[in-house]
């Protein structure tokens, strides 16, 4: 059992260092509370002042993001952000990282990541309608990576399928830098009736604090802090027990909370999920946000294990728990409501006017600190940054060698990052709730909104390679690529959520990456009019001094105002004309082709222009709204040739295309490009809109990809190419 050191002993042994508090931070706590903090209090501060809870390293950077706009009902700061979509409805979304738990125990790590983000959504009063993921793993030639990925996928599906939320999209890329530190981000989207918007606030003296859901065990106690050197092995396994997800309990919890919110507004003051740093962060944040204090009696907390000390009870990250603030007089009614769903609801305390955060255990006060000191007084650091050497010098574009383009195309289609992800997403129920109009496999997932003529387009994107070569432009591209996927699906981008997955911010070069990437993202968000409404920061993704590529995952939601505008990437009719939107250049640094031919990426990133990006997106939007587009697809990894092939695969129909470009440029990854197909009798109408931004390159039809360049021509049967593309990932996953 954990021994609770006396305040003096904490000071003399510097135990706080083990919990991630610095000397200065420890001093600051003493100043704030006017004495030495005891064991429990030190633990509370360590958790609440961790990067995960306090954003002490990233706060100044997050300030760059635009967060407001005419449609924005709730920006960052609550469980999730909210955007108005008309008809008294709003869309609620957020993403979360679960990288470390996934690396340690992939099935449960991924599953509990999904469970956590779902709670953020329904705690806002919204019904979750879709899940997405964003996965970046090491190369599949390592047995351990295969195991990690297979289990991660099973865990995402295991949780989402069981709870009945469709997983409608995501991304999956590979690079050796993610071998020891895989990235697992999950995003959840919910639909809200505007009247039911909730806040995680505990206001009103004597109102009741209720704990609902699963019992507390010693799960993931060090989740928000980090492992302590002082623990010996036996204790360590005991204390930081793996969090196991219980999707059935969460389904019941979700239904019960939604009934409480929708049908009993008179009972509920505020609601918040217990995520990182469990009970302490949810309760302290709810009180501080409302400007009240709180008294909690820890003996009332439902406990799964015996002999838990206050530190453990407060920091446990047991899953499937929520904290409620209930108006006086409604305690029994709330208990009955949850009992009906087979769940515990227990009063563990009440709100006070005094702005203190007070905990009792076995009848004694074990913590008594100003509530704002926990939530608002964490230090903010302005870390030094230094441009990494690799970014200092401009280099020329990589010149690929392409003598047999058909062969190159086949090889690219089998690269794990390009190959079909069907073997992944078929493990996810993408259709439950019967709203999924476009299932995974096209650019964005599309969900209709029942009772309206509208739909939502949702996607996650990040190309860590581009960010490695140029964090700022890479950050812009991540946002723009997400927007392109939404636009290609027929949508208007509304806003984004993000997960910033980076190495240690204490390394000036990593901090530089973080700073530049967020600056780029912010610029792109401004340009596209897509505010950041929520997000999550995951730093310290490194082992043995090697950090992952900077990986800011962007999750975007767009509105498709008319269901007729819903568009997929699939070529549909022989004879349709194919246009490229945007221009192609010889951009190969950071490309799939460079990776494939050289085994690694290098060089400076190509030029990228936000104005061009926006203009090209608008052309595609206009074409779709004019009702003349049969298919639309953005060009990403592998360039034009891969994009054309992807559009051919689903309908197994070919195309004849001629471009006056060097052959290798078929694979260039110049940004801001789309391919659209249009019926031949709409040529004039299409070209009136496209003008100079695009070009007619050929037509749909036949059974082969027939491509002509300025240097050569080739023909590849669609079925041959499709087989290679379809089978590549499956055989590597086994």
């Amino acid at each position: 059992m954990m021994t609770e050191l006396a305040p003096e002993a904490i000071k003399t042994t510097q135990h706080y260092l083990n919990w991630g508090l610095t000397e200065d931070e420890y001093q600051r706590i003493q100043t704030l509370i006017g004495r030495l903090p005891n064991f429990t209090e030190t633990g509370l501060f360590a958790a609440m002042w961790s990067e995960h809870c306090a954003y002490k390293n990233s706060k100044p950077l997050l300030k760059q993001f635009p967060t407001t706009g005419p449609r924005i009902l709730q920006g960052p700061g609550e469980g999730a952000g909210i955007i108005d979509i008309g008809d008294h409805q709003a869309v609620v979304f957020k993403a979360e990282s679960h990288n470390h738990p996934t690396a340690v125990e992939p099935y449960q790590g991924a599953a509990t990541g999904v469970g956590g983000i779902i709670r953020d959504i329904f705690s806002m009063g919204a019904r979750p309608i879709a899940m997405l993921d964003s996965l970046h793993f090491g190369e599949l030639n390592q047995a351990h990576t295969k195991y990690l990925l297979n289990e991660t996928i099973a865990g995402i599906g295991g949780y989402g399928n069981c709870i009945g939320i469709p997983t409608v999209g995501g991304e999956l890329t590979f690079d050796p830098v993610f071998e020891a530190n895989p990235v697992m981000n999950a995003m959840c989207v919910g639909l809200l009736d505007n009247t039911q918007q909730q806040k995680g606030a505990a206001a009103g003296a004597d109102n009741l604090i209720y704990y609902v859901g699963a019992k507390t065990g010693r799960d993931g106690i060090q989740g928000a802090i980090f492992a302590s050197a002082e623990f010996n092995d036996a204790e360590e396994t005991n204390r930081s027990a793996v969090q196991v997800g219980d999707p059935f309990a969460e389904k019941q919890l979700m239904e019960a909370c939604l009934v409480l919110i929708k049908e009993h507004p008179e009972m509920l003051v505020g609601i918040q999920d217990m995520g990182a740093a469990g009970l302490v962060s949810s309760s302290a944040e709810m009180g501080a946000k409302a400007g009240y204090g709180m008294i909690l009696d820890l003996d009332q907390v439902p406990q799964r294990e015996k002999g838990m000390i206050p530190y453990e009870l407060m920091l446990s990250e047991s899953q499937e728990r929520m904290l409620l603030c209930i108006h006086q007089g409604y305690g029994a009614a709330v208990e009955q409501l949850f009992a009906d769903y087979g769940l515990d609801a227990v009063q563990i305390g009440h709100v006070t006017d005094a702005k203190q955060y007070v905990l009792y255990h076995h009848g004694a006060v074990v913590a008594d600190v100003p509530i704002r000191s926990l939530v608002q007084d964490a230090p903010v650091y302005h870390r030094p940054s230094r441009q990494p050497e690799r970014l200092k010098h401009q280099t020329a574009q990589y010149q690929p060698l392409v003598d047999d383009p058909a062969k190159t195309l086949c090889a690219l289609l089998q690269q794990t990052s390009i190959a079909s992800k069907a073997d992944v997403y078929r493990q996810y129920d993408s259709q439950v709730q019967t709203n999924t109009v476009v299932t995974p496999g096209s650019d964005a997932g599309v969900l209709r909104i029942r009772g309206t003529h509208k739909s939502l387009a949702v996607t996650t994107d990040a190309n860590p390679r581009y960010l490695y070569l140029d964090p700022k432009q890479g950050g812009m591209i991540a946002v723009c690529e997400a927007a392109r996927n939404v636009v290609a699906a027929g949508g208007e981008p509304l806003g984004i959520t993000d997960c910033l997955n980076f190495g240690s911010p204490e390394d000036p070069e990593i901090f530089y990456e973080l700073k530049e990437a967020t600056a780029g993202m912010a610029q792109a968000c401004e340009a596209l009019g897509t505010p950041v409404i929520s997000g999550n920061v995951s730093l310290y993704n490194e082992s043995n001094g090697e950090a992952i590529f900077p990986t800011p995952m962007v999750g975007m939601v767009g509105l498709i105002a008319q269901n007729e505008w819903i568009t997929t990437q699939r070529f549909k009719n022989a004879g349709d004309l194919i246009y490229t939107i945007g221009t192609t250049a010889g951009d190969f640094n950071g490309s799939e082709l460079q990776k494939m031919q050289q085994g690694r990426i290098s060089g400076s990133l190509f030029k990228f222009d936000l104005a061009t990006e926006l203009a090209n997106q608008q052309v595609v939007q206009q074409l779709i709204r004019a009702g003349i587009v049969q298919s639309a697809h953005d060009l990403a990894e592998g360039g034009l040739a891969v994009g054309l092939a992807e559009s051919c695969f689903d309908g197994e129909i070919g195309c004849q295309v001629s471009v006056g470009l060097p052959t290798s440029w078929l694979f260039a990854e110049t940004q801001s490009r789309f391919i659209v197909s249009v019926p031949a009798n709409q040529k004039a109408a299409a070209e009136a809109i496209i003008g100079e931004t695009g070009q007619l390159i050929g037509k749909v039809g036949g059974t082969a990809l027939e491509i002509e360049t300025s240097g050569t021509q080739f023909s590849l049967p669609v079925t041959t190419a499709k087989q290679l593309w379809k089978g590549a990932l499956a055989c590597q996953l086994k």
Binding site: E105, T237, V244, D246, A249, E305
Partner: protein, 87 residues
């Protein structure tokens, strides 16, 4: 030939959602006297004799594949059988 029986259960501190749900159901079915339910996995393996001692092999199998040592503990019983019996 060896007959091996392997039992795998969650470690004590780990949540066992199935066990809880089954316990509740048993209570509803009027088995009020059920105090706790733990759900685990059970393997029966027939193992031909090899150079290695069966204990060593089984131990490795458990740690490498059958159990997730982050969360689960395992125990096993090994019984030598004549080949005829094993079939």
């Amino acid at each position: 030939m060896y007959h091996v029986k392997i039992y795998i259960t969650y470690k004590e501190s780990i949540l066992d959602p199935q066990g809880e749900t089954i316990k509740k159901t048993l209570h509803q079915l009027n088995y009020q006297n059920v105090a706790s339910v733990t759900v685990g996995k059970y393997f029966e393996i027939d193992l031909a004799a090899s150079d290695e001692a069966p204990e060593v092999e089984v131990e490795r199998m458990c740690a490498e594949l059958l159990a997730n040592v982050n969360m689960e503990s395992y125990r096993y019983e090994i019984e030598a059988v004549s080949v005829n019996e094993a079939i």
